[in-house]
């Protein structure tokens, strides 16, 4: 549930980028930060290991200004994708309002994607949240690699393996190039705010 301070007229919404390791979650946030940091007037917090992997989480608060008279801050988080950081992922999901699932399109990552999505489902359950009800957007990342002759999972297969039941909106994206990064963000923010609005009504 988002943090809403009626007295201070402040709304904080938590969006978590989830997905298998090295799928492009941090790259999404880095792109958003690099493009919009001056407008967003914010700092990105990133804790990485020597090997440039996300250690704990990345955190990017994104100030949207006043919405309906409320100062609205979107807090973007990533989780470490590596299997071993299970407890950290659970912790970062606490209080989540919306999820972007960044799937890795590389052909050999099918199992990793499925595993990570199932992992998301279970970790949400631990926080009494249902993956079918929480605002969710799929981002099929690294699609640009097809142009370089690198075999990718077909979108139809990704949809069938990951999204056939959930039927969440999805985007083909390249976080590295910034393609559909913003559209993904827009979609999840709108969906999340929409759910938040309904919950408050």
């Amino acid at each position: 549930m988002a943090f809403i301070n009626v007295k201070e007229k402040l709304i904080q919404v938590k969006i978590v980028y989830y997905g298998p390791g090295r799928g492009g979650k941090t790259t999404n946030l880095e792109y958003i930060y690099s493009r919009y940091s001056s407008r967003a007037r914010t700092q990105m917090v990133s804790i990485k290991t020597h090997g440039d992997r996300t250690l704990f989480f990345d955190f990017l608060p994104f100030d949207m200004g006043k919405i309906a008279g409320y100062n609205t801050v979107i807090q973007l988080y990533t989780v470490p994708g590596q299997v071993k950081y299970e407890a950290t992922r659970r912790l970062v999901l606490k209080g989540v309002d919306g999820v972007v699932f960044v799937a890795d399109s590389l052909s050999d990552k099918e199992e990793d994607n499925v595993f990570s999505l199932n992992n998301l489902r279970e970790n949400l359950e631990l926080h009494n949240k249902d993956i079918k009800k929480i605002p969710l957007v799929f981002q099929y990342n690294k699609r640009d690699l097809a142009a370089l002759g690198i075999p990718l999972l077909p979108i139809a297969l990704l949809e069938s393996k990951l999204n056939s039941e959930l039927k969440a909106p999805y985007f083909e994206a390249s976080a590295l190039k910034g393609i559909n990064v913003v559209n993904t963000l827009k979609k999840i923010v709108v969906l999340t705010m929409d759910v938040l609005q309904k919950e408050l009504e």
Binding site: I4, V6, G21, R22, R35, Y36, R39, T49, H50, G51, R53, L55, F56, M64, I67, A68, G69, Y70, T72, Q82, V83, K84, Y85, E86, A87, T88, R90, L91, K94, D108, E111, F115, N119, R121, E122, N123, E125, L126, K142, R143, D144, A146, A147, L148, I150, S174, L176, K177, G178, I179, V182, L185, K186, V190, M193, D194, L196, Q197, L200, E201
Partner: protein, 299 residues
């Protein structure tokens, strides 16, 4: 409050459009990507090494027998192709040796072996990247990689000397049970650039002991390989009730570790444990780098 929230979605959408419309470059269409694409980290420009790089990156992500076999085959092919270039031949041989060592030791292999593997590959990549590289510079690169390689050999020897510790009970923290720390050392970063390259004789390695790897003639015997099974999956496939499987072997199997409800303080504790372990591994990496640096200074 409710009234004020009414219509928020539309307002949010409008606000996001305002925020992003100016800064957003012309949206690239995927149809245009072949023309618009630039070189990225995913792919290098040295087509000769393209396959090798893909394999090394795969191994960096997950160590599988099939990747190691691919690496050995590709490195053997390149070694033959560049048989007249001693630095390259030796570095390809290092890759082969480390790959064979990983094949043999599997999860018991030192985590730094993957780091050294990557370092050697990066050394090869630097040689290919510089068209005007001199022979002396190639030898320098070889020396740097040999230093890292020899340090790894020493570490392996030390490990072999240590008496085996008693098997510990699996910990409750499932994610800590089997995973090795990340390979995090980049030995070449602190290696000196100036010391003289060793002679060919110096690069010859005497008879190896068990578990030792050599750039010249690895004596490690190849084990019978289990196709399409990662080391982690092999380890997790053991019938240990407390350790769930993390990688499915076929689609009918459950692929998610069985989770149990966790109190917030428990989750926080486990997260702290993960961070502590990561910090410890970072320190180990720094110590290893310092050791390499000191050794190189003594030469």
């Amino acid at each position: 409050m409710d009234k004020k929230m009414t219509g928020i979605s539309q307002e949010v959408e409008k606000r996001l459009d305002e925020i992003f419309s100016e800064a957003e470059p012309v949206e690239e269409l995927f149809d245009d990507i072949p023309e618009a694409i630039e070189e990225t980290d995913f792919i290098d420009d040295y087509s000769i090494l393209k396959q090798l790089k893909a394999i090394v990156l795969s191994i960096d992500w997950e160590i599988k027998d099939e990747y190691l076999m691919d690496l050995i085959n590709e490195a053997e092919r390149l070694k033959e192709e560049y048989k007249n270039e001693r630095p390259l031949v030796l570095m390809f041989q290092m890759l082969i040796s480390i790959a064979k060592y990983l094949q043999k030791k599997k999860t018991q292999a030192l985590p730094d072996s993957v780091t050294v593997l990557k370092s050697v590959f990066e050394g090869i990549e630097r040689i290919f990247a510089n068209e005007n590289i001199s022979e002396a510079e190639k030898e320098q690169e070889l020396s740097r990689q040999l230093a890292a390689f020899n340090a790894l050999k020493m570490a392996i020897q030390e490990q072999a000397k240590k008496p085996k510790k008693e098997e510990k009970e699996p910990e409750k923290i499932i994610e800590k049970a089997e995973f090795k720390e990340e390979p995090v050392v980049s030995p070449h970063e602190y290696a000196p650039l100036q010391y003289a390259a060793p002679s060919y004789e110096e690069t010859q390695v005497p008879a190896q002991k068990e578990g030792e790897i050599s750039p010249e003639e690895p004596e490690l015997k190849e084990e019978k390989l289990v196709p399409s099974q990662g080391f982690i999956s092999q380890e997790y496939s053991a019938p240990e009730p407390k350790v769930p499987k993390f990688y499915m072997e076929n689609e009918s199997e459950e692929v998610v570790p069985k989770t149990t409800p966790m109190e917030p303080h428990e989750a926080f504790f486990y997260a702290l444990e993960e961070i502590k372990e990561a910090i410890r591994s970072e320190f180990r990496a720094i110590r290893a780098e310092l050791k390499l640096w000191r050794e190189s200074q003594q030469r």
